[in-house]
Symmetry: C2
């Protein structure tokens, strides 16, 4: 047994006993790409299943406050809840997001809730491979439901839909929010919509616009019709109905045998992410090849081939 294997063994033992500190340690190891984390994941893979809910939407839509309320609903029903809050890594965003997240901290007193913040790959990048690995870990720890909250800027919204069982898009009556959703093609991704801050003017109009747009949208697997929920996360209004909607979507997946397809799509996403990450790293380390591409001596395809197969290096 190698040192890594025996370290993984010991951590695994505590992890399986439900030791939250072992979970925290395992998440750190996985996030940093440490071999012990890899070993741990390998042993835990395919062992458990939680309901995974992705929560996305534009900045300022109130996603964190809504997640906070959804945690309460889940706890009322006796569920154990894990939360992954994915932050973009830009220095410009730190402050505001941290402020929202602090509200969720009250759950830290509750042993039935575990909250973890993760940095995403880049300021605008999609979900990092590490996020999906962290999610895989959380799933095997015995949570009933896991919320993955991402700041919705483009790619991460598409990624979350590939990773989660259920994807919730949070909008507000703010000008431009609906337009943004339609233009960005997010309409095709969300399983449910929350029109949050519904106490602001314009909420009904957004609902009508969403309804019209959804009538034109392509049909969903199993004939699912994405419902729209007005919510006021600050007061909790509408959150119970929204939670029931999340549960209804999950039951729809089960009833129509669609869960398996979701899990396959997530695995596909994981493999693609690994290849993309390798491509990025190897390209960063190949200054000479890149310079030859820039000078037109080599096509990008030839350089890619050389990077992926050392024996074919031209």
């Amino acid at each position: 047994m190698t040192v890594q294997e025996s370290q993984a063994e010991e951590l695994l033992h505590r992890f399986r006993q439900g030791d939250v500190r072992a979970l925290a340690r395992a998440l750190t190891l996985v996030e940093s790409g440490h071999p012990v984390g890899q070993e741990l994941l390998k042993r835990l893979r395919g062992q458990a299943r939680a309901k995974v809910v992705g929560i996305t939407g534009s900045p300022g839509a109130g996603k964190s406050t809504l997640t906070d309320r959804l945690i309460l609903e889940a706890r009322k029903r006796g569920e154990r809840v894990g939360v992954l809050a994915v932050d973009p890594s830009s220095p410009f965003t730190g402050g505001a997001i941290l402020g929202d997240r602090i509200r969720m901290m009250r759950h830290h007193q509750d042993p039935g809730v575990y909250i973890r913040s993760l940095a995403s790959r880049g300021a605008l990048g999609g979900l990092a491979g590490a996020t999906v690995a962290a999610l895989a870990l959380l799933e095997t720890f015995g949570f009933d439901r896991i919320f993955v909250e991402t700041v919705g800027v483009g790619q991460s919204e598409v990624d979350i839909a590939r990773v989660a069982d259920t994807t919730l898009l949070v909008l507000t009556p703010a000008a431009g929010d609906a337009v943004q959703a339609f233009k960005a093609g997010v309409m095709e991704i969300a399983d449910l919509f929350a029109v949050n801050k519904f106490d602001l003017p314009g909420g009904e109009r957004i609902i009508q616009e969403l309804k019209s747009a959804l009538e034109l949208a392509p049909p969903r697997p199993g004939g699912w019709h994405p419902p729209i929920y007005p919510t006021v996360a600050a007061t909790g209004e509408g959150v119970e109905a929204l939670f029931e909607g999340l549960e209804a979507h999950y039951q729809h997946l089960v009833a129509h045998g669609l869960l398996e397809a979701h899990r396959l799509e997530r695995a596909r996403f994981e493999v693609e992410s690994v290849i993309q990450e390798w491509g990025r790293k190897r390209t960063q380390g190949a200054g000479d090849l890149v310079a030859r591409v820039a000078r037109g001596e080599l096509s990008p395809e030839e350089a890619a081939l050389a990077l992926l197969d050392p024996k074919a290096r031209p």
Copy 2:
């Protein structure tokens, strides 16, 4: 000489004579990944240089109208202009974008302007590899300046900054536009800002917000300070100053020897894109491997290794 080589030879001959139909044909071949397109690119690579300006910003910011005006400015100065308009491929966006683009069509009468629309990879995907290949072709055709207009939804904004010499971010006084820019980390990417639709209320406020945010931003190469231009694309107001700003940025790159670094970054992006595309295709075609990852029998890393190196297939 293979059939492909002789076809490429004939097309190359007409391309070099400045035949616009040969350019159009070549772009189609490159966009579809046809071998003759590959052959053509190989022969033309590294031969010419245009000033490449990326134009991005949220949907509805008036990017197409502004591009239309910038084309006029370039033509006033006797420049030959190429335009790549990258459309997201979502069915929900087609209409609105097409409408804006029609305005640009008036330039089709002008032999000094060539406009081409390209579909991006996915509804929310970044710039497709095909877009960069099309750009490489345009550059060798003899244009003095090339505008690449992308609908700014996350990843494509980051991508455009890696591909263009100069990146222009178009904002409007609309609520949420500035916030969006700060949160998404786009501040760090743009070389110039246009606050378009400046005749609407709130323009001055956005400029002040941008200025404050830029004071906190990390320093740029060569000490560049991103300028902010108020514009009204509909009337052309402020567009001449903006055009001069684009030119000033290019001259800054030249004066500080930064162009080369930009070209290397673009080459790096091209190689990464090829690897990412291969990863996606191979993963799509590997149902069995993906199923084993989903069942936890194989880690994503093991599956990726197997996909990239057939000899290592477990």
